[in-house]
Amino acid sequence: MKILVSVKRVIDATVKIRLRADGAGVETAGVKFSINPFDEIALEEAVRLKERGIASEVLAVSMGAAACQETLRHALALGADRAVLVESDAILEPLTVAKLLAALTRRESPGLVLMGKQAIDGDENQCGQMLAGLLDWPQASFASKLELKDGRALVARETEQGIERLDLPLPAVVTADLRLNTPRFATLPKIMQARKKPIERLDPAALGVDPTPRLEVLKLEAPPARRAGRMVDSVAALVEALRTEARVL
């Protein structure tokens, strides 16, 4: 069984996000980019399934600018066998990403698509569910445990009510939550090997997808700053402040 994993190139989770001087976007000059943390977890899960003999091939897919090749190289170093870059400098909304992934899924016929539950830049949390809808496949979002058995996926998913367990037939779309696993680090030999693995480059049009955005971004702004706080030197002073100043006790 083949597993398709989507990996997005995002500003690293540790970077302090700053608005560009013109206000039209986020400062990216000199900023560290990484593979979206949730996608790293999805990829790790796929690679483990291959190591256990359950999957035969792991295909990593990314959409975006040419620089996404770095992200794909990293995915190859982490254990993906092959990579596809759908190259575009346009803004790719979740619906577009899902349509591109649907086209690739039809071409590649994986038994499972593993994705992150959300990209930490846009925080959309949509692509996996949209892809499952477009393909009319079962879905399990926010997975914290995954087991494949007899053509079915047993998934534990994180909800506000607790851990929900689902049983769904493959092929299916599963999106990873943080607790699914702890990803490995890429080793130097693997990084060297990854250089030789293939990255196919495609154009969105070649997949028959029109990437025109449906939403218009009118404004990007920093949220209003919180009023400056102050330090108190004892529990008594804290309780006093909460009672008389903040009036929350």
Binding site: A13, K16, I17, V26, P94, L95, A98, I120, D121, G122, D123, E124, N125, Q126, Q129, M130, L131, A132, G133, L134, P138, Q139, S141, F142, R157, E158, T159, E160, Q161, G162, I163, E164, R165, L166, D167, L168, P169, L178, R214, L215, E216, V217, L218, L220, A222, P223, G229, R230, M231, V232, S234, V235, A236, L238, V239, A241, L242, A246, V248, L249
Partner: protein, 321 residues
């Protein structure tokens, strides 16, 4: 006039509190021009929930759809129904809860629409504000054409009231679907007894709680204050607290009157979940912890010393109990 569909999250008997906030957002989207808000209650044996839905202020109509396929709230079953109903709607809204986030994007994809995720403010009928980058930026987006699909962040909108006047309930047919997914059950962790999403006071513990037993030390104070308990990802990963207590970019979003962080460093991913809290207190023994920059009141102290002192100071206080 706009036609707004709000997808109700419910357990067959009652609505999830987040639905009430979603109705408030729907009213704001309807705006001055007015509009009709329809609450969709799909399930099986869920007429009580529909009756509760009919009493929500601002709701003009309840659609009740009962079918075996909807016995569990699975996106796979519900999305085709929502997509069908969307054809007659100007807006389709769901709360940005695990239920809404699972369902709405799938339904929108079937309707070839791009939803606005996690809206925190309404500008006009087609324009919403949403946080991105863990709440470090706010993005104002306008849906250019067609039906507006959106999930609504419950903590950003006050809950709609519940009145005495009931809106009409209309039963409509299900959308046939060959359901493949089976639900095997749901295991909840220990509940803190107070709903995290609606608590007036939230006490959150981080890795500084040291152990599961250490985490329990928050309980007496929580009881005294009627507070819900919450945790950081580090505390959950370490097994100190159940998953569903996690607050932050990838957990729950809370906006209580009072949020007290015990042994929490203040990573941006955690702060993303508490930004709209009215008063934030941080108790941490490290003076350089970033949480202090995000707090209204900071106290540099060992939390295990602070906790009994807080309990003692509040013991003779009746107003907060």
């Amino acid at each position: 006039m706009s036609e707004l569909l709000v997808i109700a999250e419910h357990d067959g008997r009652a609505l999830a509190p987040a639905v009430l906030s979603t109705v408030t957002a729907a009213s704001a989207l309807a705006g001055h021009s007015g509009g009709r808000i329809t609450l969709l209650v799909a399930g099986q044996g869920c007429r009580p929930a529909a009756e509760a839905a009919a009493l929500v202020a601002g709701v003009g109509r309840v659609l009740l759809v009962e079918d075996q396929a909807y016995a569990q709230p699975l996106a796979e079953a519900l999305a085709p129904l929502v997509a069908r109903l969307a054809k007659d709607m100007s807006h389709v809204l769901a709360p940005a809860t695990s239920f809404g986030k699972d369902l709405l994007p799938r339904a929108a994809a079937l309707a070839d629409a791009q939803p606005v995720a996690d809206a925190v403010r309404v500008i006009d009928a087609r324009t919403l504000v949403r946080p991105i980058y863990a709440g470090n930026l706010l993005q104002t987006v306008r849906v250019k054409a067609g039906c507006v699909f959106a999930t609504i962040r419950p903590s950003a909108f006050a809950p709609a009231g519940v009145g005495a006047k009931a809106a009409p309930i209309e039963a409509v047919g299900a959308e046939p679907v060959a359901l493949r997914t089976r639900t095997l059950g749901c295991e909840a962790g220990a509940s803190s007894g107070v709903d995290l999403g609606r608590a007036r006071v939230v006490l959150a513990g981080g890795r500084g709680m040291g152990s599961a037993e250490g985490f329990k030390r928050l309980e007496p104070l929580a009881k005294r204050l009627g507070a819900a308990l919450a945790a950081t990802r580090a505390a959950v990963d370490a097994g100190y607290a159940p998953n569903e207590w996690q607050v932050g970019q990838t957990g729950r979003i809370v906006a209580p009157e009072l949020y007290i962080a015990f042994g929490i460093s203040g990573a941006i991913q955690h702060l993303a979940g508490i930004k709209d809290s009215k008063t934030v207190v941080a108790i941490n023994k490290d003076v350089s912890a970033p949480i202090f920059a995000a707090a209204d009141y900071g106290l540099v102290m060992d939390l295990f010393q602070a906790l009994p002192e807080l309990e003692a100071a509040l013991a003779d206080d009746n107003s907060g109990a």
